[in-house]
């Protein structure tokens, strides 16, 4: 069955594993409702997003994986987020599948995607005051230097949130730039003789 015949706004998306379509954000809620009620895709197994990188339009693509409990088929629906790069938006599907609630909160937490109509859009994995969206491509794996969230603990122990050391790690380098600069160890976040382990009581 080709969903494109029923929903003219769908656009085929190249995929090897299961049928996949691109859907404009405006049609997303109606499409999802119809897929669940009329096409047997009763389960939303996964919902996530992909960041295409800074400066790209569209930058954030929300990806939904549905599962059909009768034919045991997967279906992938991808939908580009609307709005500005700093505050992308997409309608929520949490009223269709209750499980989407947490998935969307995770996407908000990791990418900063606003789900319009979500009843309780808060951070879920990081703490509430965390200022960044870690899975965005411009966010470094090591993180940024910032204050520890509990001020009294920070005062007593002197702990700060610091970039994690990258030297010696199993990490590979990116594609662009000369080797001397693109390797994580070149960014000198390591603990060495010159740069001691912050606050540690053990040897540097």
């Amino acid at each position: 069955m080709n969903l494109k015949e029923t929903f003219a706004f769908l656009e085929e998306r190249p995929a090897k594993d299961c049928p996949a379509y691109n859907c404009p954000a405006g049609h997303l809620v109606n499409l999802m409702q119809a897929l669940r009620d009329q096409h047997g895709y009763s389960m939303l197994v996964d919902m996530t997003a992909v960041d295409e990188g800074p400066g790209q339009t569209p930058r954030f693509i929300a990806v939904y994986h549905l599962f059909n409990l009768e034919s045991f088929e997967y279906l992938r629906i991808a939908s580009a987020c609307e709005g500005d790069e700093s505050a992308p938006e997409i309608p929520t599907v949490s009223h269709i599948w209750a499980g989407a609630d947490w998935h969307e909160r995770e996407c908000y937490d990791m990418f900063g995607i606003r789900f319009k109509g979500h009843p309780d859009l808060r951070r879920i994995l990081m703490w509430d005051e965390y200022p960044y969206y870690p899975l965005r491509k411009e966010f470094p794996l090591a993180g940024f230097d910032m204050d520890f969230q509990a001020a009294d603990v920070a005062e007593r122990t002197g702990v700060r949130i610091q970039p994690a050391p990258m030297a010696g790690g199993p990490f590979v380098s990116g594609d662009e730039g000369p080797m001397s600069e693109k390797e994580p160890r070149a960014k000198d976040q390591s603990w060495r003789e010159q740069h001691k382990k912050p606050g540690g009581s053990g040897p540097a």
Partner: protein, 182 residues
């Protein structure tokens, strides 16, 4: 020193043969080291090996440490078993603060000791940044034997402490307090 008479102690003949002279430190440390009550701060994978140590095959009861207390008030050794994230670090520190002196900390596994393989924005790179750690145990996760070995090392460490001085001073050993970034 005068010999105990019948007027001093009711059962003179028995006590006479059982008097032991020792330093107070040695007695206190002996008692403390053989009744370590761990507080299992089970955070991740290491907690499973910690359970394994408590269970039938490895049986930490052989060393007087099977009394796992989930209340910090009732325990004196925190075993930090697993990855401490920044989000969790606050809770770990607050639980440590609730433990009564004297108290010790064992960093079980690579994550608790140094952040281990999780070099990322969310993970505290070693629990020693918020707690004074007494024993580090390597491994990801450490084998149960390694944990038992670490606990025995902790016993050895406890036996060398100046406990009487700490009690007299009415405060914990200043060496053990965290000092912040160095």
């Amino acid at each position: 020193m005068t010999t105990a008479t019948e007027q001093d102690v009711g059962y003179n003949s028995k006590i006479e043969g059982n008097v032991i002279f020792s330093s107070a430190d040695a007695i206190i440390n002996w008692v403390r080291s053989n009744s370590v009550w761990p507080m299992p701060m089970g955070l991740a994978c290491c907690a499973i090996e910690l359970m394994g140590v408590g269970a039938s095959k490895f049986d930490i009861a052989r060393f007087g440490m099977e009394v796992m207390r989930f209340s910090p008030r009732q325990s004196d050794c925190m075993i930090v078993a697993g990855t401490v994230t920044y989000k969790m670090a606050e809770a770990v520190r607050r639980i440590y603060d609730q433990m009564a002196e004297p108290k010790w900390v064992v960093a079980m596994g690579a994550c608790a000791s140094s952040g281990g393989m999780y070099r990322s924005y969310a993970v505290l790179q070693g629990v020693d940044r918020i707690l004074p750690v007494d024993v580090y145990i390597s491994g990801c996760p450490p084998r149960p034997e390694a944990l038992i070995d670490g606990m025995l090392r902790l016993q050895e460490k406890i036996r060398t402490e100046k406990s009487m001085w700490q009690i007299k001073a009415g405060r914990p050993n200043p060496e053990k307090l965290p000092t912040g970034p160095r």
